[in-house]
Symmetry: C2
Subunit: 84 residues, 2 copies
């Protein structure tokens, strides 16, 4: 199961964490590759909603990941107010 669906910051954070662990590297190492602090990686993986795209894609690149944007597959609640 190497393809993870993400519809929220928490979900993409969790997905990134799983992939990072699968690669056997720690947050500090990702921080060094990306010029981000270990604390910043921690926040991303925790799903902080304020994380910037700069940070997200830096980490994705460091982990050799990519995103796919596509229409939602299954059902969804779609109440934006309840999203975070």
């Amino acid at each position: 199961m190497t393809e993870q669906i993400a519809r929220t910051p928490k979900q993409i954070g969790a997905a990134i964490r799983r992939h990072r662990r699968a690669l056997g590297i720690n947050q500090k190492a990702v921080g060094e590759k990306t010029h981000l602090r270990q604390a910043t990686i921690s926040g991303l993986e925790a799903g902080e909603a304020g994380i910037q795209l700069r940070t997200l894609f830096g980490v994705l690149t460091a982990l050799n990941l990519e995103l796919v944007v596509r229409p939602r597959t299954k059902a969804s609640t779609d109440k934006i107010e309840e999203m975070f």
Copy 2:
């Protein structure tokens, strides 16, 4: 071709724009659904690297889109410094 690969803020912005247009709605309407300004949607679609996950996922939800996180498929340069 409704599945778009994104490895950079610019790419995800472009992908979102294509999907939005395919749905036939404008930035102002997306802004109203998400409680974001039209100017903010514009920035997201333009690929501004500082856009936050809060903003990204709000728009994805409004457009009924989702992300998939997966290992990169084809080749990649992977020079993070050159990413933006």
